[in-house]
């Protein structure tokens, strides 16, 4: 984990108030593992004091392979996929190429610690379950699983078609993509958990590993479904964060433990947890 001043290369608007922010960060990019996140600071704004947590969407080489430029094969660019929801993300959207910002990264335990990899190897297929901007946490895992030759499928639900961003980035890595929208503007109408449930029902003989990221309610429903179908399920959790460093204890969530359970920090013990470890009842 490093705290660096990084330069904006591009801040590309996508549909539905989403943006893809590319930052030059040659020291941090090579350290990133799938499922980790960054804390981005927007200096100079006392109304946005705290850093904002953002999943690391992707890391890229400065120059595409084969262009003859660039130092070796190490990535130098970190990409964040984000949606404007408030003041901080609004300020992010105002970043222009050449602007500088401060970023703490990479943070947290990602999807592919050894203990998780074992579960992926044992599965016939890995099912990615994304709700809205939760998609941002899943691209790097999908890439690395594809590299390991593991079959994958993406279930991606959002409010409307405008929010279904990034699907094309997954195409090279996942066998099939199933989309759903709450307003019915694309794919199956309703929540993504419906087609997911149908898939689990129709393939009872298969072993799945679920990787999910999205709103609490979607994660809770996915966790419950995974439990019912006996599938291991990993969830990438979100919570308000004060520091990302494990010191403010602002991001703690209830997890199973002795007695009434205990608390673990999303920024440090997470953001990825086994779904059955999380105490979902609370919210």
């Amino acid at each position: 984990m490093l705290d660096e001043t990084v330069a904006v290369i591009e801040n590309r608007p996508l549909t539905g108030g989403h943006f893809l922010l590319s930052l030059r960060s040659p020291h941090q990019a090579p350290l990133v593992r799938p499922g980790q996140f960054a804390m981005l600071r927007l200096p100079g704004h006392s109304d946005v004091l705290l850093r904002r947590p953002m999943s690391i969407y992707d890391v890229k080489l400065a120059h595409p392979q084969g262009s003859g430029k660039g130092k070796g094969n190490l990535p130098e660019i970190i990409q964040l996929l984000y949606k404007i929801v408030g003041r901080g993300t609004q300020l992010m959207a105002e970043l222009r190429p050449g602007d500088q910002t401060e970023m703490l990264a990479p943070l947290g335990h990602g999807f592919f610690e050894e203990k998780y990899l074992e579960a992926a190897r044992q599965a016939d297929e890995v099912l990615h379950v994304a709700g809205g901007i939760g998609i941002a946490a899943l691209l790097m895992p999908a890439k690395s699983l594809a590299r390991a030759g593991i079959r994958q499928r993406l279930f991606f639900g959002a409010r409307g078609v405008q929010e279904l961003v990034g699907t094309e980035d997954f195409v090279p890595f996942v066998g099939e993509t199933i989309l759903s929208t709450e307003d019915g503007s694309c794919g199956t109408p309703g929540y993504i958990t419906r087609p997911l449930e149908a898939h689990l029902e129709n393939h009872r003989h298969q072993r799945f590993l679920l990787l999910a990221c999205g709103p609490w309610a979607m994660l809770e429903a996915t966790a419950e479904m995974a439990c019912r179908h006996g599938c291991p399920c990993l969830v990438s959790m979100e919570n308000r964060m004060g520091c990302g460093l494990g010191v403010c204890l602002g991001c703690s969530i209830r997890v199973r433990g002795e007695g009434h359970g205990s608390y673990e920090r999303v920024c440090t013990e997470g953001p990825v947890f086994w779904a059955k470890h999380v105490m979902w009842e609370r919210k």
Binding site: M1, R41, P43, G44, S46, Q100, N239, R240, L245, L249
Partner: protein, 336 residues
């Protein structure tokens, strides 16, 4: 690597000529019999147990580290959401989640002991006996330089707040803790009182070796769409730049009311902020919330204080309480 952040440093930190660099700013201080290499500490609850920052800053450049509040037994803390950002500050209701005194000694203290920064342990309990018990356990540890008795946390129902808002209880818990304490005892005061000097005097009378102030201000934020409080505990402690002017005023008042040293805390994000506290009378300062968004703040404050002293060719100690008041204003009067 880092550029100068805008919340950052005092205007005075320009490159100094050789002669000024040779001038000794005298940042080393002695407080309550403890020697600090400089007057900048990190505030409890905002710096973990130190180690979390080891990869980001040079901990050996700090004057001291005040660790997260420790209780005799481990505490789980409050449900989420625990924090909410407000204008130039944040509300928190962590609920004093901590590993407990024994585990602190075993797992956290050995690292802190290796540092040049002094180690202060923030202590809290839910009864006088419980405070005493915690101090007794901590007494067994090697390498604790001082205790900071937290009688002011607003987030535990039966916790410190009661002690911090009743001068008799303040005296009781300070006296009882002082009796068993093996090292100097600082008392951290609550700002959530009508007259903080009453509590400052009570702590001094009960034997406190120093005072630290302020802790967070009880605050509240509401989501107007859902009509619900923004944090699960309903109310939380406000910290950050937003509280600085009130904290400076309280330090000013307390420094005039007691003889024991005062450490100033509240919204410090730059050397200039720290200097306000010092000029108001604080002998040292603590950096809190700024650690979250700019981990290098405390180091920048040390460097900024040094640069300021060199630039003005003044010794740090002569800055303490150097406030100049308008001539017609008697020093002790506070007009609201």
């Amino acid at each position: 690597m880092k550029n100068q952040s805008s919340i950052g440093l005092a205007r005075n930190q320009s490159r100094e000529p050789e002669t000024e660099a040779a001038f000794s700013p005298g940042l080393e201080i002695d407080l309550a019999g403890i020697h600090f290499q400089n007057p900048v500490l990190t505030a409890s609850g905002t710096f973990g147990y130190g180690q979390e920052f080891a990869r980001l800053i040079d901990l050996n450049k700090l004057g001291g580290i005040v660790v997260k509040g420790i209780s005799a037994e481990p505490m789980p803390g409050n449900p989420a959401p625990r924090i909410y950002e407000t204008e130039a500050g944040m509300l928190n209701a962590i609920g004093l989640q901590n590993v407990g005194a024994r585990k602190f000694l075993e797992e956290k203290l050995p690292f802190l002991r290796t540092l040049k920064a002094r180690c202060l342990v923030n202590v809290f309990g839910y009864s006088t006996e419980n405070y005493v018990r915690c101090v007794e356990i901590l007494n067994e540890g090697e390498g604790i330089d001082a205790y900071e008795l937290n009688i002011s946390c607003p987030n535990t129902r039966c916790g410190g707040m009661v002690y911090g808002s009743d001068p008799k209880l303040t005296e009781e818990v300070v006296a009882a803790s002082k009796r068993v304490s093996r090292c100097p005892l600082f008392v951290k005061l609550s700002p959530n009182v009508t007259d903080i000097t009453v509590f400052a005097r009570a702590a001094e009378a009960a034997g406190a070796d120093g005072l630290t102030l302020v802790n967070t201000f009880v605050g509240m934020a509401i989501d107007v769409e859902t009509h619900t409080p923004r944090i699960s505990n309903v109310t939380g402690g406000l910290s950050g730049p937003a509280i600085k002017p009130v904290a400076v005023r309280m330090v000013y008042q307390v420094c005039r009311a007691v003889k024991i040293p005062v450490i100033g805390i509240g919204g410090i994000a730059s050397a200039e902020d720290a200097l306000e506290f010092v000029i108001a009378g604080a002998r040292a300062v603590q950096v809190g919330t700024a650690n979250f968004y700019a981990p290098e703040t405390s180091i920048r404050v040390v460097e900024g204080l040094r640069a300021y002293c060199q630039h003005h060719r003044t010794h740090f100690s002569s800055l303490v309480g150097s406030l100049r008041l308008p001539e017609d204003q008697p020093p002790a009067s506070i007009e609201y």
